[in-house]
């Protein structure tokens, strides 16, 4: 996509998670939908506050796991009974109890990988470049001890002056415009 021009959004900085959560709740009640919070550690309340309740990671994991299970079990069965059926130690060619173990391991393998990759994919990572990094105070705090609320320009309610005014009411430490 062509790089967008102009303003990405307004970034308000808070000192405590409590302030951030309150601010987030207010903005959400105020009707903001294109907004996000940035915290140095997981603050579930904030996510709740901006109306982010559930995600798709579990579903992806489940699907991955099932794929692993069936893939390995079928492979084993095919190999041992059809591809080259061999009498080993007088055991039946279809020795399903033995097949369970590798199938079990692959279930976990695929589930785990899907969980991790799925999570990053849903988050749109990797994304080394992000407009927020243009904000002078973002990188000094967001991963350290500061808490940010960002109201994004894409939100229909967004208007530079009004939004800034609205943010003022939330008593942030600072407010900055974020360029694309």
């Amino acid at each position: 996509m062509p790089p967008r021009e102009g303003i990405y959004g307004l970034l308000a900085e808070f000192d405590t998670p409590s302030d951030l959560v309150r601010a987030a709740q207010k903005s959400y009640q105020d009707g903001w939908r294109r907004l996000d919070c940035y915290t140095p550690y997981p603050v579930e309340e904030a996510a709740e506050a901006i109306g982010f309740h559930r995600n798709k990671v579990p579903l992806i994991t489940l699907i991955g796991g099932l794929m692993g299970l069936t893939a390995m079990f079928l492979l084993e069965t095919w190999i041992s009974t059809l591809a080259y059926p061999i009498n080993a130690a007088g055991r039946p060619t279809y020795s399903w109890p033995a097949f369970v173990v590798p199938a079990y391991e692959w279930t976990i393998l695929w589930a785990g990988l899907s969980a991790c990759y799925g999570m990053f994919a849903l988050c749109g990572l990797p994304e080394p470049y992000h407009p927020l990094f243009n904000a002078p105070n973002f990188r000094t705090g967001a991963t350290d001890d500061k808490f940010f609320l960002c109201l994004e320009a894409l939100d229909p309610k967004f208007d530079l002056m009004e939004t800034r005014a609205f943010l003022e009411t939330l008593e942030p430490v600072s407010i900055v415009e974020v360029e694309y």
């Binding site: 470049y129 990094f133 002078p136 990188r139 000094t140």
Partner: protein, 291 residues
């Protein structure tokens, strides 16, 4: 604070992830192909032989029998490479001063072997046995290809295990009447090229090759030219005990109950029984080829 990465890096980052995946897959496919490639198997490669011997000329041109040179193919695991004397049988008279035959005359004079490069070279841990194959209806051409069309010898097939198993798992698709073993031009039966076969009362100790006889001309018209199986007829083809004992009775061509086959599948399954070919479970057991 400035950005560490440029805008474009987002695209690059995701692209590189995808690429890595593709490269891994590509690598796998390459290796898989490589292990089957002529570079590894020497399939179809014409080796630098001391004498550019042409099977085409000698087989198709002069109509030499395979066994004229490969004498032990029916009696031994080893088909046999002709001694220099075999070459000299003719080349003492003809082409006596041809340059390309110099190595042959050298060998004859000095008593040193002609160092041929092995074209069909199995790994040393794989034990192939010619006699049982030709005695049970696998033709030369099945493995060696149309030798009569090869000016210079090369390996028609990979000779890899998967190729062997290909047939050991389903011999029927390659079986032919033992009378046609040396027939380079043999083609699978079809509607317009039927084959007639009959089994005479097969008995213990009589090689199955003799109790079955097949013909490509309709035996109901014109008395069948019954193709004979060389090994049995030749007295003392094998000097080993047990093997056929005293020369086996030469079967008389009686137009017995001939059966007509119009597809390799029918013929194959008929011969499978007639030649008492072991079942795939036996034929694919490890000790058959590895000891």
């Amino acid at each position: 604070m400035a950005q560490i990465f440029d805008r474009s890096s987002n695209g690059l980052a995701r692209m590189s992830l995808v690429l890595t995946g593709l490269i891994v897959i590509a690598l796998g496919v390459t290796l898989d192909q490589l292990q089957r490639s002529p570079w590894v198997t020497r399939q179809g490669q014409r080796a630098e032989q001391p004498v550019p011997f042409s099977h085409k000329h000698h087989v198709a041109g002069l109509g030499l029998q395979c066994q004229y040179c490969h004498t032990t193919v029916e009696d031994s695991s080893y088909a046999g490479i002709p001694p220099t004397r075999t070459c000299m049988n003719c080349h003492a008279q003809i082409w006596t001063d041809a340059q390309i035959l110099e190595p042959v005359r050298q060998s004859w004079a000095t008593g040193q072997s002609i160092p041929w490069i092995r074209v069909h070279d199995l790994p040393d841990f794989a034990y192939f046995n010619h006699e049982i194959h030709v005695n049970k209806g696998i033709g030369c051409a099945t493995c060696h290809g149309r030798v009569d069309e090869m000016p210079l010898m090369y390996a028609q097939n990979t000779l890899q295990m998967e190729w062997c198993l290909n047939c050991h798992r389903n011999p029927a698709k390659n079986l032919r009447p033992t009378s046609e073993i040396y027939n380079m031009a043999w083609e699978k039966p079809s509607e317009d090229r039927p084959v007639w076969c009959s089994v005479k009362q097969e008995q213990e100790g009589i090689p199955t090759a003799q109790s079955v006889d097949c013909t490509t001309t309709d035996p109901t018209q014109s008395g069948p030219q019954v193709a004979m199986f060389q090994a049995a007829a030749e007295p003392g083809a094998s000097s080993e005990p047990g093997v056929l004992g005293e020369a086996a009775p030469v079967p008389v061509p009686i137009p017995a109950s001939y059966q007509k086959f119009t597809s390799q599948d029918q013929l194959g399954h008929f011969l499978l029984k007639a030649y008492k070919i072991r079942n795939p479970r036996d034929l694919t057991s490890c000790e058959v080829c590895h000891r």
